[in-house]
Subunit: 403 residues, 2 copies
Amino acid sequence: MKKDIISKQCEENNTKIIMVVLDGLGDIPSPANDNKTPLETAKTPNIDKLAPQSAMGRLTPVIDGITPGSGPAHLALFGYDPLEDLIGRGVLEAFGLGVDVGKNDVAIRANFCTVGSDGKIEDRRAGRIPTELGQNLCRLLSGKIKSANGVNVLITPGMSHRFAVVLKGKGLGNKVTDTDPQHEGMLPLKATGQDAKSKKTANVANILMEKFKVALKDSYPANGVLFRGFSSPPNLISFPERFNIKAAAIATYPMYKGLAQIVGMDIIKSGSTLRDEIEALKTCYSDFGFFYFHIKETDAGGEDGDLERKVSGIEKFDKALPEIMELKPDVLAITGDHSTPVIMKRHSWHPVPVMVLAKDCFRDGLARFTEKNCIVGSIGSVPMLNLMPLLLAHAGRLGKYGA
Amino acid sequence: MKKDIISKQCEENNTKIIMVVLDGLGDIPSPANDNKTPLETAKTPNIDKLAPQSAMGRLTPVIDGITPGSGPAHLALFGYDPLEDLIGRGVLEAFGLGVDVGKNDVAIRANFCTVGSDGKIEDRRAGRIPTELGQNLCRLLSGKIKSANGVNVLITPGMSHRFAVVLKGKGLGNKVTDTDPQHEGMLPLKATGQDAKSKKTANVANILMEKFKVALKDSYPANGVLFRGFSSPPNLISFPERFNIKAAAIATYPMYKGLAQIVGMDIIKSGSTLRDEIEALKTCYSDFGFFYFHIKETDAGGEDGDLERKVSGIEKFDKALPEIMELKPDVLAITGDHSTPVIMKRHSWHPVPVMVLAKDCFRDGLARFTEKNCIVGSIGSVPMLNLMPLLLAHAGRLGKYGA
């Protein structure tokens, strides 16, 4: 109902909305850093210039206390209820590698692993083999194995020991248990299916486990595979259709391109640096109304517990901000997908700061964009999935409800 | 569920609750006004006296980003979920003109329009003819047309080119499309019904379109009519029944009387000035427990982008406030139904400030009643439909839930 209301009220116009997502932006005060957060520590003269004219607030990705993965966090950012739809790990991996996964396909996240002579797993990641070796091994597997039990098998290499397997066939279910036992020293598990269709998939997976092992017998340390995250894409109304807006995604990491692709955004080609992303934004700017602009470095800093790296990620974005502002977006939002506090070195449940700049935003008059200011900002503390309706409203794209 | 809980916990007592609704009160800081809002700009010594002892907060009429019409906003103020029930434009117009619309009747918002010799619409509002002319033409139509296809037709003039048509008969549906194409240079549309009952209504509407045209053939520029907003009143549990409280509505504009009538409040007769409204409040004060007290001027100022008029509307209310306080209400709420920011000149989605004064309110200690103070007020930012339970609680009218 809520969704329908928003979709129904959406009106097209020529406005441009840029949503900058600094991955893992949110943080908590660090006693080792004078009780300041990375956002407070960073020198951000350009953000500071915009701050007083902006509306600030905080976004709760799922519900209080729930730490989101990147999938649910991005669904929420894109205006979808992360409790209604979940993106499986297999789908995320496959989309991220540029593999198209159809509604009826099943995608699997696979690892090369090291298996001892007793069949037990010695290293779940095969010593984190180089990406190039992983690519070669995937080529080897693809050459030998094209199908199993009448189901087509598509093998695509990822980073290091990671790869994706996509099963394309009729009557495949995705309620299948992992073959990865998550611990070394154990035998790989048999995949099992929850229903008839998923049993068919599990059967194919078990055949593949054997075939792959045979094909890899001389490839120590990458002489085995493990499967997890059997999944099909969620059946969502696409973002451009739902919000009546052409949407572009600019990101350097495959997973984020995949997340944007799942909701039907156009993925804009770009190189791997922030500079490249800015160029990509400029190039496609006239063709779209909405821009998802993803920056990874902040999250990497958080995950590594590296305050300086997270601060530097924020500062690099700040330096690039004037180029974005030159495009004169009607609505600019700066936020994150979740918090990754440096002192925690992992995703957390803490609300994510957001600032929104637009002609008709409430001008909070707050001096800087920080977690603490966001607590008292005019947007308040709201579910992350409410951000999209707010941005559409600020762009004049949400019509009046009722007479 | 929520509704039931509140209704079940309602207990009668002798307390008095006054809800002052300054229409369109909410606003946003204006760069042209030193980044102040009208509430901040207005001189409000009487509100200021009460402010520190009050609880403040913000009300979201529908959901984040959704701009409400007056209908949904008032349903929310009156404690109803505006996403569950919608008041159609026809009903709103008819009730506002003092026409009783029964549950099975269908009300239509009608316009006089100008039609060219080719039958195409030249002006959807017939040059905004004077109200008196509209009244004469309605009298002409009423004299000639009393029924169509066995359905009684009630014609009531409104302001300028506007009038209401209420159809009273058996088996009428309200899922009928507008005959107003919303654009000049087009032919009026045929009404169509979604189901059998609505097809009957559509048929009557199409007959009326023709009859009206014939009757108006010499009335250029008001020589045609357009219909929209076919609707019947929503089937709501009445406010007095639901909250176990006798409720009075004091308003000068027809539409707001209509909105109060829809939820079953008693409409108190009053003149057209704030002075008249205060007198009406005093006169009926001993007979009711709840008073909806509506002031229109603030919204008109917002809609016209007229800062001074909005400020003056607030200041006039402030001058009248001591007379209201002399009545010693147990609970006083001052709020709006939605925001109408002066710089936007239209309704907006921004949350609406509210202050609540009662013996048992949290005393926020904030110096003035302003949007910014309301952000940090003790009521927080809550759905507008939560206001009624809060007011009933402050009046000692909501019993304990559970042992």
